[in-house]
């Protein structure tokens, strides 16, 4: 628990965390915000029938999950930053059992990644709603569109974070 608190402080003290959060909000909102425009012209080149179907409108909301990359970068920085800054020595002096440190970091990466996605997807869903407002012909989304998007955002980030973690461990072990 102590180590988790320490990781939490590393996260909230570092300015890079807020930069990444802003970037992820911007990317998710942009993705979701421009999609109605793209899809409204989609008939011409994709054979999709504009925004008149619920399934198509759902993809607009789905775009709100697209900032997972930033949540992964955050997780990578949690580990790599320690070596870049030289703080790894202090961390391992305080917690000589290294597996506990890695566990705390993995847990923090999961929690922070989820928080990042919830915030950026939440804001992007609002953006999507506003953007769709400009298209009166747009169909209503299916009932579960927003819930699905949030779930997808969480699953996306945790799966890809896990993948990144495995890659990092693979290279660290070399």
């Amino acid at each position: 628990m102590n180590l988790f608190k320490s990781e939490w402080r590393k996260l909230i003290y570092a300015r890079s965390t807020y930069g990444l959060l802003l970037a992820s909000i911007a990317l998710a909102s942009l993705s979701a915000g421009v999609t109605p425009y793209v899809l409204s012209h989609a008939r011409r080149f994709m054979g999709v029938d504009g925004l008149s179907q619920s399934a198509i409108v759902d993809t607009v909301y789905g775009k709100a999950a697209s900032a997972y990359l930033f949540a992964i970068i955050l997780g990578v920085l949690l580990m790599a930053g320690e070596f870049r800054q030289g703080t790894a020595v202090a961390t391992f002096l305080a917690a000589p059992k290294r597996s506990r440190v890695f566990l705390a970091k993995a847990a923090m990466a999961a929690v922070a990644g989820a928080a990042f996605q919830l915030i950026s997807a939440g804001i992007a869903i609002v953006t999507a709603k506003i953007a769709l407002g400009f298209y009166p012909e747009a169909a209503a989304p299916s009932d579960t569109a927003i819930l699905d998007t949030i779930l997808a955002a969480l699953i996306l980030v945790q799966c890809s974070r896990w993948l990144a973690w495995q890659l990092a461990l693979y290279f660290a072990a070399r």
């Binding site: 102590n2 608190k5 402080r9 570092a14 703080t87 020595v89 202090a90 305080a94 917690a95 000589p96």
Partner: protein, 247 residues
């Protein structure tokens, strides 16, 4: 029952073909400043890294009160370490850097401002460490080492980057710490400086201990530098002749 708080027992550390520390045996007693001396590359830092659980010995042990560092229940409450390799997050303030450590070690946060005052960094507590001078970073390292109010202090080349005032201050600080009955092990290659600081010395060269004892018996009437040069040259000559004889 030995009174030593730090003990190296046949400590050997090998990096590939490089023998960094070879069969080091030493006991460090409390209430004194022990200098761990030797030229660059002698194996001082490696021995200290083994002692602090940052490197694992190839064979032998380096123990704190008879226990390996990694087995200590609350390591920062027992041992404080000032290491060359230690860094601070440049984007965090001095206080934030220390609060990351107190959280990890379960030390109460009020200790942060106490240690910053001890090392006279109170004025810079809220500043990002990016702009810190080398001397300020050394003081912050010392502050970090003191967080757990440890009985044992291990310092690796702490005088590096300190100006004369800083060195005098450090010397006074270590003396006070030792007079409280605590244990100090300080490594250095700056012999002239160490002569006035330490009570006991352990001299190593090429990973092997050359001599250990209180400074008077090691140095005699000359300077620490003289004694060191004499001892290392003698050591080198004997090792050269032995390898030469083998060929």
């Amino acid at each position: 029952m030995s009174t030593s708080t730090i003990s190296f027992n046949q400590l050997t550390k090998r990096y590939g073909k490089q023998l960094a520390v070879n069969n080091l045996n030493a006991e460090i007693t409390p209430g004194a400043i022990t200098g761990f001396l030797g030229p660059n590359g002698a194996g001082k830092s490696t021995a200290l890294r083994c002692l602090l659980g940052l490197a694992s010995p190839t064979s032998g042990t380096a123990l704190i009160k008879g226990v390996a560092y990694s087995e200590l229940e609350h390591p920062l409450h027992q041992v404080g370490a000032v290491l060359d390799s230690r860094g601070f997050h440049a984007g965090l303030t001095a206080r934030q850097n220390l609060k990351v450590i107190t959280a990890a070690a379960g030390i109460k946060d009020s200790r942060v401002d106490e240690v910053l005052e001890l090392v006279e960094l109170t004025d810079a507590a809220g500043k990002r460490t990016k702009g810190f001078s080398l001397g300020m970073k050394q003081r912050l390292s010392l502050a970090a080492a003191l967080l757990g109010d440890p009985q044992i202090l291990v310092l690796d080349e702490p005088a590096n980057g300190l100006d004369p005032i800083g060195i005098a201050w450090l010397r006074g600080f270590l003396r006070k710490f030792a007079d409280e009955g605590r244990t100090i092990l300080v490594s250095s290659h700056q012999l002239a400086e160490m002569q006035h600081t330490v009570d006991d010395v352990i001299i190593i060269n090429h990973g092997e201990m050359i001599v250990a004892g209180d400074i008077k018996s090691v140095v005699g009437d000359g300077t620490l530098e003289d004694a060191f040069l004499k001892l290392t040259l003698k050591n080198q000559a004997s090792s050269n002749s032995s390898t030469g004889g083998g060929k």
